[in-house]
């Protein structure tokens, strides 16, 4: 393929690709995101390829291995076009039937369709599944439709048309103005207005400018950046090229976690293909604008998600943040003006340029525009990636899209924003999710992790978990963060082990205030949030741990034991069979008994009992 030399060249090519992709042709789209991958997409793919060959369908059926469809709970996911028939949880042994019936004859296999757990009805199409129905998938929607390793697919869906529009019909200032008017804010957590960041960077003093993509997705429980890079890296690259044009930069970096090998691979393929088409490199589409992108693989340090630390890490140094008297848009990488945005932020840019800032600004709330991708995980029925307009309520996300809490358990809290975020209790379920409202209740948007917890989760243990996490990830250069978090961790561990003392809660609050005020970077400044919000909303749980020496949720091993409710126990003996310690004894059809000396509180009996006869005391 020779390089595209002009706008006209691009348009001709795009039309050609569109023509080649007859909407009526038979396409089998198979999700190969990390979620479905772990459930066995590759085995399904091999089985499908063999079956297609065996039936002499080669050339008549296109097998499209795509990025993440979002509904990871149901993986591996298969969608058969042109009808759009949706088969979740496909296994290799299902393939012969699917090929023979659906692919050859277009016949629907009823019992393989998705069954809505609430209405018990079978649902034919992906878009009608309740999980997808209430979403607005403008950033994430193309993931399931394109092959991430084939740029032609992306171009056939009007990919890179926003770049053409920006390069040939807009000045850099007009691009910045459009982004400003759209109201786009940083999706990595801070929520800083993207347009203002670009403008400051453009005006900053310096000859060389850099644009960067932050794909060091460190928040545990958030994986939308991974899925975007794996499934549609071109949308991120297109955003970056447009950003570079607006800012006046010729060199870009993507700082991506090495723990995401597929993202690194697909992004590498994306960059190479864009270069071959002349969409990256020297004189892009004959416009005279040069831009190259380099991938930098991170070494696995949470703090490197912080802008100054990330830039030091890019320089090959230890990723320690610096004080931001001077912002990175003025002096960042190699002391030059640098604009760093998150993966999702970059992926929003082409959408804004294509549809216009007014359209984008019509989505969302007063101060938070557009959509946001959340990773809805934890104790929720439909786990996966969810894209909704800003301002959608937590209840809609967790109950309507997420399907509520499984196993008839009770909702307890939702944790947003990763380790820097906070826990939101049931009282705030109707809260519209945007930057301001989450901050009002003590949490943050963060990169969009949303971890749902039920009655079996202990909030003190959760606070300890986050504080421990941050203790390990603190870079160690400033004392309030390094030592303060360590102390909080020790106090919380004491509480969880039954050694909590009166006054510990007040001490935690005091420490939290100190760490928040005096830490150098965002990691320390937000580190106490999980402790503060759990103290605010679940103080009685802390008190139960300290005063009564009880863990009501049955998580902190030193503070509870299991007992059999003799009335509820019907002696089915299942728990006794499963107990690895042989601590449960009893005759069949008679109430059982747990020997407390033998019990290691592994919770196997508690989870196994179908009659709720095992009690946490």
């Amino acid at each position: 393929m020779s390089k595209l030399q002009s706008q006209k060249n691009y348009e001709v090519l795009r039309e050609q690709f569109k023509k080649e992709r007859d909407p009526e042709r038979r396409v089998v789209s198979l999700c190969a995101g990390s979620g479905c991958g772990a459930y066995g997409t590759q085995e399904v793919r091999r089985a499908l390829e063999q079956e297609v060959l065996k039936n002499g369908l080669k050339g008549k059926v296109e097998i499209k291995v795509t990025g993440c469809h979002g509904f990871c709970e149901q993986g591996p996911i298969m969608v058969i076009y042109p009808e759009g028939i949706f088969y979740p949880k496909v296994k290799p042994e299902d393939i012969p039937e699917i090929v023979a019936k659906t692919i050859v004859n277009g016949e629907v296999i009823e019992n393989k369709l998705y069954k809505d757990p609430l209405s018990k009805k079978r649902i034919l199409k992906e878009k009608d599944v309740p999980f997808y129905r209430q979403q607005l998938r403008i950033v994430f929607g193309n993931n399931g439709l394109i092959d991430p390793t084939n740029i032609d697919d992306y171009i056939s869906m009007d990919g890179y048309s926003a770049l053409v529009k920006a390069l040939f019909t807009m000045s850099p200032e007009e691009v910045i103005l459009a982004i400003k008017e759209s109201g786009l804010r940083g999706r990595g957590g801070g929520g800083f207005p993207t347009g203002i960041k670009w403008e400051t960077c453009r005006k900053a003093h310096g000859d060389i400018r850099y644009v960067m993509c932050n794909a060091d997705e460190g928040d545990p429980g958030a994986y939308m950046d991974r899925s975007l890079l794996e499934g549609n890296s071109h949308s991120v690259l297109e955003g970056m090229i447009i950003g570079a044009y607006a800012i006046g930069s010729n060199q870009g970096f993507v700082y991506v976690r090495n723990e995401y090998p597929l993202a690194v691979k697909n992004l590498g393929i994306g960059i190479k293909q864009a270069e071959e088409y002349g969409l990256l490199g020297k004189n892009i589409l004959g416009s005279g604008f040069d831009f190259t992108v380099k991938i930098s693989r991170g070494g696995g340090a949470f703090v490197c998600g912080e802008s100054t630390a990330l830039m030091r890490s890019l320089e090959g140094k230890v990723g320690r943040p610096r004080a931001k008297y001077i912002h990175t848009v003025d002096k960042g990488y190699r002391e030059s003006p640098s604009a760093l945005n998150n993966v999702e932020t970059w992926a929003n840019v082409p959408i804004i340029i294509n549809n216009g800032p007014e359209w984008y600004a019509s989505l969302g709330t007063e101060k938070s525009k557009g959509t946001k991708v959340f990773s809805l995980v934890g104790k929720v029925r439909n786990t996966g990636l969810v894209e909704v307009p800003m301002g959608t309520s937590l209840r809609t996300i967790i109950y309507d899209i997420g399907g509520g809490i499984p196993k008839k358990k009770k909702f307890k809290a939702v944790q947003t924003g990763g380790p820097s975020g906070g826990c939101i209790p049931e009282d705030f379920l109707d809260l519209p999710v945007d930057y301001e409202r989450l901050a009002e209740v003590g949490s943050i948007m963060g990169s969009g992790g949303m971890i749902v917890m039920d009655q079996d989760n202990c909030m003190v243990d959760l606070a300890r978990y986050f504080v421990d996490f941050l203790k390990n990830e603190s870079c160690g250069q400033c004392t309030p963060c390094r030592e303060g978090i360590t102390q909080m961790s020790e106090i919380l561990t004491d509480i969880c082990e039954g050694n909590g003392k009166e006054g510990d809660i007040e001490l935690l609050e005091e420490l939290a205030t100190m760490i928040k005020r005096f830490s150098l970077c965002g990691l320390g400044k937000t580190a106490p949030n999980s402790v503060l919000t759990t103290l605010l909303y679940f103080r009685e749980e802390y008190q139960a741990h300290i005063r009564d020496k009880k863990c009501p949720a049955g998580v902190c091993k030193a503070l509870f034991h299991y007992e059999v409710d003799e009335e509820l126990c019907n002696g089915c003996h299942l728990c006794a069979l499963k107990c690895p310690q042989e601590a449960v004894t009893g005759e069949k059809k008679k109430p059982h008994h747990i020997d407390q000396d033998k019990c290691i509180k592994c919770s196997i009996c508690y989870e196994a009992c179908k009659f709720d006869a095992i009690l946490i005391k």
Partner: protein
Amino acid sequence: MISRRYRSKYSTTNAHVSLTLISYSGLVKLVILKSMERITAIKGEPQVKIEPIDTVYLDEVLEQNMQDPENLIMILQDISAKYNYLPREVLKYVVERLNVPMSLIYSAATFYKAFSLTPRGKYIINVCLGTACHVRGAEKIKESLEERLNIHEGETTEDLKFTLETVRCLGCCALGPVITVNETSYGGLDRGKAIKIIKQYEDET
């Protein structure tokens, strides 16, 4: 205010010696303790064979990274990918070729979680301890693997077959709890399933 309360609360116990916020003697103790730990760590290092340096591979890696110290982290990752850890002999070679001090490499190698200065097993098991996995019982998976392999987190079995590590998040949050063995992910685990997976690798000849 904080400092006074701190001292009264913690200065008497050895367990809280790391409290350097206020107590200078505490700081000195901490430094001594830490340096002793380091010395024992070096002494206790298993005696392994000196790795033969594959200069062809290393030159290729350095070439790909343009021999630029700025790409140090990626160079170390590539070395790690080949040897499973960062052998001292290899690092010495990198020092010569990049013309940087060993201290720079040492600081990067000990700061980032991806690197290890001691040999790791053929199979590196990573237990995801991300929040989504945590709330679904990742700790229990970790405990059962520790029991099965008879090693703790961060350690390697004597036969150099398995290394058990934890990772902050693998980004497969919808399937928690998740572990990876080298590059293969396994999701939706409980104790039984996790042990079964390890057994597959154990049985392999």
